[in-house]
């Protein structure tokens, strides 16, 4: 029984992490129909910024989390404007800004000077392009086909991962968080404080999201856009703002997930983005367009993963096969994909997803 409770607690902790990650995917998918693989990049960036603020800049851990949430939200909005909803002057402005930042950084300026310089260059480029466009005619936004958009986000994930690795290196780093290795033991069940914190953080973020989604103007606008894009536009909803908000929310929760995943005994490396791939079964299980499904799927998958991990290591007495070592190390990660495939065979749109009506 202790084993089961322990596995369940660990499962809820892993599951709330997955729920946060999946929420980011679902919010973007619901608004734009894109699976944004670059969420992995935002997660990585968030984790490292929290690390940087909490250790190198001598700052507060919670301040680091807030800062990383803000940066990742901004990163996602830039990504959406530059790559997915391409307005020419914005693309030029953002590219020039990033290039300027990289050039200044490479030439040995401090972070702050590089950042301010990049922003100035980007804004200048934006206005110059806008002036030129005013003369020669506006090109307007051009949208990518869906498959193209998904592949572009994979490309961005690669770039962000390598850039992160080149800034912070491939070594495992320890984040300076207030929990460290502290824990409480109830009965025989070990409750790690960092895991409790992850659960609390996820619960708070999800609670805020559901309130915003349900009652605020922008939440209603997001749901309306998902329900019927054209009708929403006809009602005066700005899809530009809706898309940007969805990406910003997704960036924020990805940063939270990145921080939660590296707290306590966990270390941070550029391979952290792998956890995003592990969250895919949760996303599919819940259904791509259902935030409630994200939470349900996340918790379920986290739970299954930890149960499998526990019981493959120590096979219970009633189980007919005595030794499960042949399944190999890390089988729990594969098990969740197998569960995902089985669920998809029965329900092709996940447990809570909306069935897509296809017309010719």
């Amino acid at each position: 029984m202790t084993t089961f409770v322990q596995a369940t607690f660990d499962g809820v902790a892993t599951g709330s992490l997955y729920a946060l990650i999946v929420l980011g995917f679902v919010v973007i998918y619901r608004a734009t129909g894109i699976i944004n693989f670059a969420q992995g990049g935002a997660l990585l960036l968030g984790g490292y910024i929290t690390y940087n603020v909490s250790t190198s800049w001598g700052g507060n851990y919670f301040l680091g989390i807030l800062f990383s949430v803000a940066v990742c939200a901004g990163f996602n909005v830039l990504l959406q404007r530059a790559m997915l909803q391409r307005v020419f002057r914005e693309v030029v402005g953002i590219s020039a800004g990033l290039l300027g930042w990289a050039a200044l950084y490479y030439n040995g300026t401090t972070h702050l000077v590089g950042l301010i310089g990049g922003v100035v260059i980007g804004v200048l480029a934006y206005f110059i392009t806008a002036r030129i466009e005013a003369r020669v005619g506006d090109r307007g936004p051009s949208e990518l086909p869906l498959f193209g958009a998904i592949m572009v986000t994979i490309g961005v994930l690669f770039i962000v991962k390598q850039v992160t690795a080149s800034i912070w290196g491939f070594a495992e780093l320890s984040v300076d968080d207030p929990w460290e290795l502290s824990r409480t033991v109830v009965g025989d069940v070990v409750l790690q404080h960092s895991k409790l914190a992850a659960i609390a953080m996820a619960a708070a973020a999800l609670g805020v999201f559901f309130v915003v989604d349900r009652y605020s103007r922008i939440g209603i606008a997001m749901r309306a856009t998902h329900f019927d894009h054209e009708a929403a536009v006809a009602q005066g909803i700005s899809t530009k703002i809706v898309f940007a908000t969805a990406f910003a929310i997704a960036g924020g929760v990805a940063a939270l997930a990145g921080s939660a995943a590296t707290a306590g005994p966990e270390l941070i490396t550029p391979n952290l983005d792998f956890v995003v791939f592990l969250a895919f079964p949760a996303m599919i299980l819940g259904g791509l367009d259902s935030p409630a499904g994200a939470v349900a799927g996340g918790l379920l998958v986290g739970w299954i993963q930890n149960l499998v991990k526990t019981y493959v290591a120590t096979t219970p007495a009633w189980f007919p096969i005595e030794d499960l070592d042949w399944l190999g190390a890390g089988f729990e990660r594969v098990a969740i994909f197998i569960v995902m495939i089985i669920v998809l065979m029965v329900r092709p749109y996940g447990l809570l997803g909306t069935e897509e009506v296809r017309r010719v």
Partner: protein, 399 residues
């Protein structure tokens, strides 16, 4: 559309031009058989023959002037052999993704099936070449046909994620089925015999001249590239190919006009054949690589294949080959150039200081190329080529 555009009289001149032999001008497709033709005119056929001959002569001419520029900068015949292997796999992926519209991130798994089965059949069972080179695609076909119906029940985003799952499951099996794959340490394919009858590809002698492994493998692999390209081209320009493209363009409509998209239908068959082609590529990969590990078949490899067909051109055969050449050669070129001359901000060795390492830069460039081509020219290099060709063939008109 008014009758004037479709009446046979109006295009009589074009049909005459089309029927006239030896006319070098680009002809308008006015008849169904024009669409089916492998080569639209003799010029194209001659150009292709010349290109094939020139390509086949590369190993002989490798030490001569223009090629030394490549060999001096990190590209060897061996690189081109790898590019050939990846061309075969990319053609397979293009059949599934470019022509049938089913995006698969699981292509590296089928490459692995081919590679591991060849290493095992060739080294442990000691099978001769003609047997393992047929066995690998057959096994790949079977695995594809077994997985396909499950995966293809889903479409779009869900399919992408399920094939992603396939990569993880595959990698787990390769890491843990130690008796066949050797686990994390990998398995050797050195014992695989690459010898067809009296033709020994380890040590080829032609016209009294003997060639080494690099040259012989180059010919073997590119011969198979040509074969696969030709077979696939024949598939896609005839009835099954048109069925696949109908499924790609609108699967519900395709089903309504009588195209079978069921469990044994065209989608599953495309998946199975695409897997078989990938496994054939894997069969050649094993003796070329000599030692294969699960690290050779990760998600990154699958994404490289996607990058190849995006860069080269979705739904074109020659695009797959161009894409494979560029994506395979580019990292070696960057390696070579940064080792010799140094690139700003790039660390050639792990001990050097620099903003990014060469390996990181390569991955960044993949990502950048995928994004750039999708944003700027989503039909890839093939699309650019078609545009240039059409510009000249319809000159001085713009259409």
């Amino acid at each position: 559309m008014s009758a004037a555009f479709t009446s046979p009289k109006r295009f009589a001149w074009a049909r005459r031009a089309s029927a006239a032999p030896g006319n070098k001008a680009q002809k308008m497709h006015v008849h169904y058989r024009d669409d089916l033709r492998l080569f639209p005119n003799r010029l194209r056929r001659a150009a292709l023959a010349a290109m094939v001959l020139a390509w086949a002569a590369i190993p002989v001419l490798w030490d001569v002037a223009p090629f030394t520029l490549l060999s001096g900068n990190g590209i060897s015949l061996n690189t081109l052999a790898y590019a050939g292997v990846f061309s075969i796999a990319a053609i397979g992926l293009n059949l599934l993704t470019g022509y049938t519209g089913q995006v698969s991130l699981g292509h590296s798994v089928f490459l692995a099936v081919g590679a591991y089965s060849t290493a095992y059949a060739g080294s442990v069972w000691g099978w001769p070449m003609w047997l393992w080179i047929l066995f690998a695609p057959a096994l790949g076909w079977l695995v594809g046909a077994a997985v396909g119906p499950f995966a293809l029940r889903l479409r779009g985003n869900y399919l992408v994620i399920v094939t992603l799952g396939l990569v993880f499951i595959g990698e787990h099996i390769f890491r843990n089925w130690k008796s066949v794959t050797g686990g994390n340490a990998g398995t050797s394919a050195a014992g695989v015999e690459v010898k067809l009858g009296f033709i020994d590809f380890e040590n080829l002698s032609l016209f009294g001249k003997s060639f080494g492994k690099d040259e012989s493998y180059f010919w073997l692999i590119w011969l198979l590239v040509a074969l696969v390209a030709w077979l696939t081209k024949n598939v896609v320009r005839t009835r099954p190919g048109r069925a696949l493209q109908a499924v790609r363009d609108q699967d519900v409509a395709a089903e309504i006009i009588g195209i079978d998209v069921g469990i044994t239908g065209y989608k599953t068959q495309a998946f199975a054949w695409s897997s078989a082609i990938a496994a054939l590529a894997g069969a050649l990969y094993a003796p070329l690589q000599l030692f294969i590990t699960p690290g050779d078949f990760t998600l990154l490899v699958s994404i490289q294949f996607i990058a190849m067909i995006i860069l080269g051109g979705m739904g074109t055969i020659y695009g797959s080959i161009i894409g494979a050449l560029v994506i395979t050669a580019l990292p070696r070129l960057i390696d070579g150039i940064s080792a010799d001359y140094g690139l700003p901000g790039v660390a050639a060795k792990s001990t050097d200081s620099g903003l990014v390492s060469v390996a990181s830069l390569n991955v960044i460039i993949y990502g950048f190329l995928i994004a750039l081509f999708l944003l700027v020219e989503h039909r890839g290099l093939a699309g650019i080529w078609v545009r240039i060709r059409n510009y000249f063939s319809t000159w001085p008109f713009s259409y």
